[in-house]
Symmetry: C2
């Protein structure tokens, strides 16, 4: 991946017969897959007769424009769309949904029964009720503005207190990745931050190959007014780690 | 298995390094593993350093005496005990629990996270609350007498209307197995019953090797007063299938 998401041009050189993509908001770097890469990805899937799994984990939270269309809508025969209640309501619900190519629907249903006999019934019924009554849309509208304010507070605090970090990614989701300046060791920063009471993680656990250092700032579970003090404290940690 | 449950004497001739057992109430035949087989099973597990998985799926429902002790209590280092909310509350909860030998606890927790990131949080919290307030015990006492009356109604109706069927198994659980008389084809009986609006299943789908024909009567989800009419109707089905 690069700053725009999946490097679709590299797929042809692989023997992959399936690819998982976070097209609306690449996790964790935050790129939005551009139209030309979407078209190329669909063309690759059609030419190879292969499967694209579109993990649409947080597309409901886009702050600068309307959410982008799905890949699944472009190529329903080759894309399995996966959505989740984890980011829009709560991870503890353990609910998600799939829109799969028709020939995969029955095998997927059988695999689900075989794996766990289906998800918890009460949670599914409660979620369906919340959906039907339009409460989920209301909740999303409410949360979109709350998360946006948290994101703005985070970016503003980073610009003021940690100007050497370079935030990246679209204005979306529940996290920001910021590149660390050269010379700062990611693991050391994360562990020093943790010792100072700041829960933050690095890019390394999310990598399959080495690359530049960066921090992942999640704002899904922190109060807006706690963000600036935490960034200030993190700036002190970085100064002492430098 | 035989009418007393697992044929522990045959284990030594196998290369099995683990065995799953429904010791309190063998599923589906309903045998209760006798004390000498329990001792032999524990001795086998200790000698082989192997694992016994005790699937205690319905031991809370014993109607003629107090529930029998667990195998896990006899040999905690070699038995992983599995309990479930499926029979005592509702299968739709998708909740269960394990008491595992200490060295398996961490690998099991890691496997659970890897499989599904954990069970639904709200259901776990609600279940813990029901447990803590003693509501589960009250529920079990209430259901024990309801299920017992259903079982009695079923056995009495079978004795009257289908005296050639031979019920087997301990006075326990949410089902009765009854052997079919020779000459009646299990699959045919099941499909004719289904066509007559009677949901019943046979032993064949639960077998790993051929054996005598039998029917599995579940009374967990049927009203007491619906049992006798259903058995009467089943008797007509059997007469026409004979």
């Amino acid at each position: 991946v690069d700053a725009s998401g999946l490097r679709v041009d590299l797929l042809a050189a692989t023997s992959a017969d399936a690819v998982i993509v976070t097209a609306a908001h690449q996790y964790p770097l935050g790129g939005v897959l551009p139209a030309d890469r979407r078209a190329a990805l669909v063309a690759w899937a059609e030419a190879r007769n292969s499967l694209v799994v579109e993990d649409d984990y947080d597309a409901e939270f886009r702050y600068d424009r309307a959410p982008i269309g799905t890949l699944q809508g472009l190529a329903p025969a080759h894309v399995a769309y996966a959505g989740s209640a984890s980011k829009i309501l709560a991870p503890g619900l353990r609910l998600g949904w799939l829109i799969a190519p028709p020939q995969l629907v029955e095998p997927l249903a059988a695999a689900k029964v075989s794996a766990d006999m289906g998800s918890a019934a009460l949670d599914q019924l409660a979620f369906a009720d919340v959906l039907e009554r339009g409460e989920l849309d209301r909740h999303l509208r409410r949360m979109r503005s709350i998360y946006r304010r948290r994101r703005d507070a985070l970016l503003s605090a980073l610009a003021e207190h940690l100007p050497t970090l370079r935030p990246t990614g679209a204005s979306a989701g529940l996290h920001v990745v910021a590149w660390l300046p050269a010379g700062l060791d990611e693991d050391r920063v994360v562990s020093n931050a943790s010792a100072a009471g700041i829960g933050i993680s690095g890019l390394r656990p999310r990598r399959i190959a080495p690359g530049p250092s960066g921090l992942v700032f999640g704002y899904g579970g922190i109060r807006e007014d706690a963000i600036r003090p935490a960034v200030r404290r993190l700036a002190e940690v970085l100064r002492s780690a430098a």
